[in-house]
């Protein structure tokens, strides 16, 4: 019964729906930390979409770099801001797990999806049929796109310098 419902198509639409709902919650949220939580769920849902579209390498990168690195950067920044007054006074009181319920439900739907995909042999085979593997991506990156990779590395260096420059303590204001 479950196998009929669970085609690659329907799983893709479900994870797309999760991504849209989570993104809406990000944009309309009041509390910064809750919005970040929903942003993680949105990125994970998009990663599941990538996996279903036959790009497991991009799905892994999405989880590791986006959800793992960029979002952690956001969390560190939010910690440094100390959650300004305008955010916390209007936020609801601490209700235990109730605040996390929505994001956890969405993430749980994604988990169930992944379990269905991994357990279904037919689906695995049809996904394996047209996967673009990381070897092809690597050959493209260091072949025709070599100049783009170099420019991206310059961009990273510029970002590093800019981050250092802006976060440096101001000399004119005395010590930090």
């Amino acid at each position: 019964m479950l196998a009929n419902l669970a085609s690659i198509d329907s799983l893709f639409y479900l994870s797309g729906l999760v991504a849209v709902i989570a993104s809406l919650k990000v944009v309309t949220g009041n509390n910064t930390v809750h919005a970040l939580l929903y942003l993680v769920v949105s990125l994970l849902a998009v990663a599941v979409c990538f996996y279903l579209m036959g790009a497991p390498f991009a799905a892994g990168l999405e989880v590791i770099v986006y959800a793992g690195a960029i979002l952690v950067l956001f969390v560190f920044a939010v910690l440094m801001f100390g959650l300004g007054k305008d955010e916390t006074t209007h936020a609801p009181q601490n209700k235990g797990l109730a605040n996390m319920f929505g994001a956890m439900t969405l993430a749980f739907a994604l988990l169930i999806e992944m379990v269905i995909i991994i357990n279904n042999g037919d689906m695995q085979q049809s996904l394996q049929a047209d996967v673009i593997d990381s070897k092809a991506v690597g050959i493209m990156l260091y072949g025709p796109y070599l100049l783009a990779v170099e420019i991206a590395s310059f961009l990273l260096l510029a970002g590093l310098l800019a981050g250092y420059h802006y976060a440096k303590p101001d000399i004119s204001e005395g010590q930090l």
Partner: protein
Amino acid sequence: MTSIPLFHVLILSSLLFAIGFVGVVARKNTLFILMSLEVMLNAIGVAFIGAGSVWQQADGQVMFILILTLAAVEAAVGLALLIRMQKKYRSLDIDLLSQMKG
């Protein structure tokens, strides 16, 4: 591409992009604007991966990796600027930045 039509992938991508765009335009908190920018970049990644998997070319994923680099740099510089703003104004309201001249 297995069985997902490209049209539906593009619909998902443009939906996510529209949500992020509304967030960038409508929100006052600069941190939320940065998060909406991430949503927008992510939506563009969906479009690239979908197109790359329709034509069975690796170019889509290459472009996605470049977008990922761009998103990382954008988040780092944006957050550093936000830390400066928080130190200077004690607030993240973007309207405070409307007084910048020259």
